[in-house]
Symmetry: C2
Subunit: 229 residues, 2 copies
């Protein structure tokens, strides 16, 4: 059993104290004292007290950026789903730690804000990727900046929805939920881009009738009226 690293001793002490007294009632001095380390050491390993809770957020951000940049040659929706899944998996691997963090951030406004801010950074990555994407084989239009903005927002909203469900223990198979959610987002945008496109290809309805158009109208109305969700 090797000695745990200084960094790990700090996080362990911090989380233990946060659980005991809450985040705000715990000072950095408390943490370093419990860890048996000096105050200076703390700030050498973490830029701030908040950083103990969000340890390698920066690294994840970079990974996602790389993933997006790397897969820009493949089809764009797949690249997005891929990168989003990378993010989700990161949290899943953290397991219990991610849930403890969630418990803390949920109750401390300052941390909540900080988390939101970092989500915005992910959103920015996606926005830039979407805005700059030269669409693949099927589509060919350049995405308008507004559309890219909206789509990026939708993507991270879907991710966060699934992630939060898992963090609250409401999801048994988050990876599957995420891919479904992402499919929903992609459908939303590809469907709107070319109205005759449906989920997995092209839907064509052809019919032939001898009836007069006026005679058909009631039936058509009925059809349209029932087509929700």
């Amino acid at each position: 059993m090797t000695k745990p690293s200084v960094r790990d001793r700090l996080t362990a002490a911090a989380f233990a104290l946060f659980d005991e007294r809450g985040y705000e009632r715990t000072t950095v001095d408390d943490i370093t004292e419990r860890a048996g380390l000096g105050r200076t050491t703390f700030f050498r390993h973490y830029r701030s007290k908040e950083d103990v809770i969000f340890p390698d957020h920066d690294r994840l951000l970079e990974q996602i950026g790389e993933r997006l940049r790397a897969s820009s040659h493949s089809t764009a929706p797949a690249a997005i789903s891929d990168a989003v899944q990378l993010a989700l998996l990161h949290y899943l691997e953290e397991g219990d730690l991610a849930r403890r963090r969630y418990a803390i951030t949920s109750t401390v406004p300052a941390l909540r804000d900080r988390e939101i801010a970092s989500v915005a950074r992910y959103q920015r990555l996606f926005r830039e990727f979407i805005a700059g994407w030269m669409v693949g084989a099927a589509e060919m239009a350049t995405i308008s900046p507004l559309r890219a903005e909206i789509m990026a927002a939708a993507v991270v909203a879907a991710h966060n929805y699934v992630l939060r469900r898992w963090l609250r223990g409401e999801s048994g198979d988050p990876v599957r939920e995420l891919s479904e959610a992402m499919q929903q987002v992609i459908d939303l945008f590809t469907a709107a881009a070319s109205p005759s496109d449906a989920t997995a290809g092209t839907t064509i309805v052809a019919f032939r009738t001898g009836q007069d158009i006026d005679a058909l109208l009631p039936a058509l109305r009925n059809l349209v009226g029932r087509s929700a969700e």
Copy 2:
């Protein structure tokens, strides 16, 4: 000319100093000294140094909440557009002040994060409204939580896009741009909810032909292929 209120003297001093030396190089003591007031007074009017820059954000948040709650009987998309416009108009009325704030928040990370956090609070309002909305005449399905999440994200993304354009001086008619952007968002979701619905009503294509279906296929393919954006 009546004496400006204490609050206004503080904001004026603060913004002047932020312009001169930047936000981080200005201390609260600097501000109160310039305003000719005591330090305690500052914190009685503003919870924090950041609050000087975001003065009545809370009030706007409440207004939007009320607007949404009030108009929940009318058609939902209209209520959303209405509330979003309320937010935009709030900034437009601030005029130059809003732009100065933008200049400051753009360069100071801490303020940027704070702004993002308050945007998230708007998004939450919209999400709750959308999730709880019993759809009006046309649609009748209850919105899934995920869908509400995504839609709320799209709504505020559209708003922020237009707002930021205006703040940067890139938009001559932001109100118009906003309503167009909102229309785009609403189309996105209503179109996806009922595939045969188009922008402004119902699109029905009826045709009759004596040709064999195989003979039609090339023409149909051609049609679909050209239908981007």
